[in-house]
Symmetry: C2
Subunit: 116 residues, 2 copies
Amino acid sequence: MKHDSPFALEITRAASTFAALGSEQRLHVLRVLVRAGPEGLTIGELGMRSGVTGSTLTHHMKILAAAGLVDQKRQGRKIICVGIDYARIEDIATFLMKECCADSAVPHDKHEASHG
Amino acid sequence: MKHDSPFALEITRAASTFAALGSEQRLHVLRVLVRAGPEGLTIGELGMRSGVTGSTLTHHMKILAAAGLVDQKRQGRKIICVGIDYARIEDIATFLMKECCADSAVPHDKHEASHG
DNA sequence: TCGTTATTTCTAGAAGTATCGAAATATGAA
DNA sequence: TTCATATTTCGATACTTCTAGAAATAACGA
């Protein structure tokens, strides 16, 4: 791949965030978690509510956490899953809009090739 | 998986759209394409500008097209790739915001479980 | 029709992701 | 320390996606 653009890093980050969201199961888990509110849920609760359990849930949560979409903190012997990073969400939406409004929305970056 | 929510279909659609965006290479291709403007680019041109060629590009374009992110139309013996579907982009951003603003933003849907 | 150009389909191996159960780790309580 | 609970890691298998080259298809022009 060619990646000379100043967006290279941002693209890498965006791609892995989209990939994290690109699973129906993870989207479902995320939804359950978000709707549980700021108090969050333990892994066990989250598993029961989403229908995803044990190691599979751990696996998905790790991906969501790496994308900054959820946060996990230990509380005694439980893990509380919370706090979607709203800033990250805005980032994603902004990235999309920026990418998808072509020239007009990206005045700070030159085209990598002319249109002719 | 449990999927009784009225969002089930929307989630399926969102997941595959995110998955389509969840590849650095596809994001790069998309970017090049968007920046080429509404005139679009042929597959060949797109390949040259993005550094992705032949069957690999066809593969990625098929995924992007299925997600409604690009459009392809034949013009003579060339395929012109264009037209990101702006409505789809807004959909995605909206979906994200809706999912990530929990209760307040989703008044038309009940919780699948109580918070207690 | 034949040749040329543009793109896609086919095929296949490599790489990555998902899922599950069992074992391991971490914490708290007795 | 020992037991019970909560979650993660490990290991294996199944499935999907990525990538590329070769062959096939589609369209144009002579």
